[in-house]
């Protein structure tokens, strides 16, 4: 039996976190692993924080307690910081570095922490950190909307979960609208290369 693994996806409403966790979940299921995926629907999707989890190894509970995430896939650097309490020393952290300012910052109610400084802080504390500009890779692939698939590629690239890139690519072909498939496949490859290079 495979070990317990708790994967946390976090991002901002509209970034496609749910599609990424669902694609991973479906691929794991097809590989024959027990899997649970939790999603956030409703009010948070209006620009709030959208979290999802993928739980492996026979875990049934959909929530991750503090210190228990084995992998964090974050679509936005502020949300990476917010999710750090969920991580432990050995957590794989895969993070986009391009900020999306919350409206509380736009209104001047609070300041946005300097991403460069804090990414360095994260790298110091968590040795398995991969932080990069997923947005530019997605743009390179053909659509900035594919940030989610770039990050999914990086997740598979880090080798922490037993699933083949080919299987995931097959699912991208099957489950994403035909006209976006090519861009998303490219996004996946670029994300993958980001970690394996």
């Amino acid at each position: 039996m495979m070990a317990f693994q708790r994967i946390l996806f976090t991002g901002v409403g509209g970034q496609g976190t749910l599609l990424a966790s669902r694609l991973l979940g479906e691929t794991m299921m097809e590989e024959g692993f027990p899997v649970r995926v939790s999603e956030v629907h409703g009010m948070a999707q209006r620009g709030g924080v959208v979290e999802s989890t993928v739980m492996l190894g026979g875990l049934e509970g959909p929530i991750i307690s503090n210190g228990e995430a084995d992998i964090l896939v974050s679509f936005e650097p502020l949300e990476t910081l917010r999710a750090l309490p969920k991580c432990h020393e050995g957590t794989w952290i895969i993070s986009n570095i391009i900020p999306i300012q919350p409206f509380t910052v736009r209104l001047g109610q609070s300041g946005y922490p300097d991403p460069g400084k804090w990414i360095a802080f994260i790298k110091q504390l968590f040795k398995n950190t991969v932080a990069f500009n997923a947005e530019s890779l997605a743009r390179q692939a053909g659509t900035t909307r594919a940030v989610n698939i770039v990050l999914l590629g990086a997740l598979i690239g880090c080798g922490a979960i037993p699933v083949s890139p080919e299987h995931l690519k097959r699912n991208i072909k099957e489950k994403i609208k035909p006209k976006f498939v090519d861009a998303n496949l490219k996004a996946f490859e670029l994300g993958l290369a980001q970690v394996t290079k």
């Binding site: 629907h41 409703g42 009010m43 049934e60 228990e68």
Partner: protein
């Protein structure tokens, strides 16, 4: 073809709990369904809505104007012999409860399932009421799935159970069972199903005048007794292990217990009773369980529903062992559980040490800016709020204006920079509470309600306001959809989902028919003109309704911008 009607018995699909409920219902031969959307139940209605558009599904579905109407539609379909379903969020059950309690008396014919989706921690709700009490209040059987596979299995079983008992059966989920995906093994879809009912007139059965109701109440209690026998041997209630420490759990809490037992490797030391058929409680099974252990930890979110029952039972049969849970302080009645909390409680009563994961020191992290949800960029509600504020400023009313609000995206008008939401109770409360404020104060009152919420429960309060001469300005934010829950249609919409051709009920006509004399319509994107209109109506000292008509931009983009 909709993925939920692909007939692939034995195949596994990664379904949301809500989708699994739909699949279970389809496998059971569901013929008529009706719902009002509400998180976390919405995906049930959304899927049924899409399915009803496909002939292969042989299904009637409607978005009804509110949960009460939806339950009535489903109840009557059942009385005519068809299998029916209605689903709602927890507070929707309050709206439908008038139907529910008496429906339990007169009972059902075709299997009928009522899904209530609770929201512990209030991710998208105004309270976290525990709807399990509705099962007890109405005396109706209740099943609670812990995961998607069970959601499918229980829904299917609920139809059978309902038909056997001639009672509706409640399926109660929570956010973490409705919105969790897991592999679900599909069963076969029915080859034939009854889609045309026939109602047999039997007033002694279906019209609960006192003489009939007295008989039916007795019948109900007899049926509940039968339901209890069913619960005793239900496959959804099962005990694992034979240790001396008992653990009883249901719903998602049972998942946390399961994970903890696996992680701590304490299978030998516990007896774990997973309760899925949760009302009426399986009395004999619980007594056997109590006898077999020397203490019990009850793990359930929200209220001590099972815990209290267990205590009463233990007292009745004179079993004096500790029953731990909420009263003992192991768990809170507030919010959803965190798995670490469950692990700690179980480790504690077993006297086990749990070594926490090694976490780096994060004390240097700065305070992080919050990211609350907010109105989309370009949302028409923003424009309307700004126009109202502009007009009130010009008239000098702003400092003493009260803004009763309602439920929808526009409730986010609570947040800065808008901050025009002062008082809220429930769906439709903007209208009734405006009346109350107008009687109790001499303040200016401008209240906000969405189109869907207006149809849900704004109309009767508006008639009341006309008749009792209340004085306020009601702004109907008509964005042509039910936006917050995922863009479901409502009777007033101009912008229809593809293929949706139903007669429109324009809000303006309804408002005028209610007897409101000052009725205006604005396009909130025309800023100056909108401010002018608000200035005019607010200067008048009487009831007025302004309909701010502009489609939700998110929805407008989704349906391709065709009006």
């Amino acid at each position: 073809m909709h993925p939920l009607i692909t007939d692939n018995p034995g195949k596994k699909m990664l379904l949301l709990g809500n989708e699994a409920i739909v699949r279970g219902a389809l496998e059971a031969g569901l013929a008529v369904a009706a719902a009002y959307p509400g998180t976390p139940s919405s995906e049930i209605g959304n899927n049924l809505f899409q399915l009803a558009g496909e002939p292969e599904a042989r299904l009637y579905f409607e978005f009804s104007t509110n949960e009460k109407v939806a339950m009535e539609v489903a109840a009557a379909a059942s009385a005519a012999g068809l299998r029916s379903l209605t689903c709602m969020k927890h507070v929707g059950m309050n709206v439908a409860s008038d139907v529910l309690i008496t429906l339990a008396y007169i009972g059902t014919k075709g299997g009928m399932v009522i899904v209530t989706a609770d929201d512990p921690s209030m991710h998208s709700s105004q309270n976290e009421q525990d709807n399990r009490y509705y099962a007890r209040l109405a005396n109706l059987p209740m099943l609670e799935p812990a995961g998607p596979q069970e959601a499918r299995d229980m829904t299917k079983a609920a139809f059978e159970l309902s038909e056997e008992l001639e009672l509706p059966v409640i399926i109660r989920t929570t956010t973490r069972t409705s919105h969790v995906r897991g592999p679900v093994e599909l069963g076969p879809l029915p080859v034939t199903k009854q889609t045309l009912g026939e109602f047999e007139r039997t007033p002694g059965r279906w019209v609960p005048v006192p003489g009939v109701a007295r008989v039916r109440h007795k019948v109900l209690l007899e049926q509940v007794e039968k339901a209890q026998k069913k619960a005793e041997s239900s496959v959804f209630n099962r005990i694992g292990g034979s240790g001396k420490t008992g653990i009883l759990a249901s719903g998602v809490a049972a998942c946390y217990v399961h994970d903890t037992i696996m992680e701590l490797g304490c299978e030998e030391r516990v007896s774990f009773l997973r309760l899925g058929f949760t009302y009426p409680q399986p009395r004999e099974l619980l007594i056997e369980f109590l006898k077999s252990v020397d203490k019990v930890l009850v793990v359930e979110e929200l209220e001590p529903f099972q815990e209290d029952t267990l205590k009463v039972l233990a007292n009745e049969v004179k079993i004096n062992i500790p029953i731990l849970g909420k009263a003992s302080g192991h768990f809170s009645r507030l919010y959803e559980f965190d798995p670490a909390m469950v692990k700690k409680a179980i480790a504690d009563i077993l006297g086990l040490e749990t070594k926490g994961p090694k976490v780096p020191d994060l004390s240097r992290l700065p305070e992080l800016p919050m990211r609350p949800p907010s109105l989309c960029q370009g949302c028409p509600h923003r424009e309307t709020y700004n126009a109202v504020k502009g007009a009130l400023d010009l008239l000098g009313y702003t400092p003493r204006t009260i803004y009763p609000t309602d439920i929808g995206c526009y409730t986010l008008g609570l947040l800065p920079p808008i901050q025009m939401a002062d008082y809220l109770l429930c769906m439709g409360s903007s209208v009734g509470t405006s009346a109350g404020f107008s009687v109790a104060t001499d303040q200016k009152i401008v209240s906000f309600i969405g189109d869907s919420t207006f149809f849900h429960s704004g109309i009767s309060s508006l008639v009341n306001a006309v008749h009792n001469e209340h004085n306020f300005c009601l702004v109907v934010l008509d964005n042509s959809t039910t936006a917050m829950t995922g863009h479901q249609p409502n009777p007033g919409i101009k912008l229809s989902p593809p293929g949706y051709e139903k007669p429109r009920v324009p809000i303006e006509d309804v408002v005028k028919a209610c007897g409101v004399k000052v009725v205006r319509k604005v396009n909130p994107y025309k800023k100056e003109a909108t401010i002018e209109v608000f200035k005019e109506v607010l200067a008048e000292d009487r009831l007025s309704v302004v309909i701010a008509e502009a489609p939700c931009i998110l929805y407008y983009k989704r349906v391709g911008g065709k009006g």
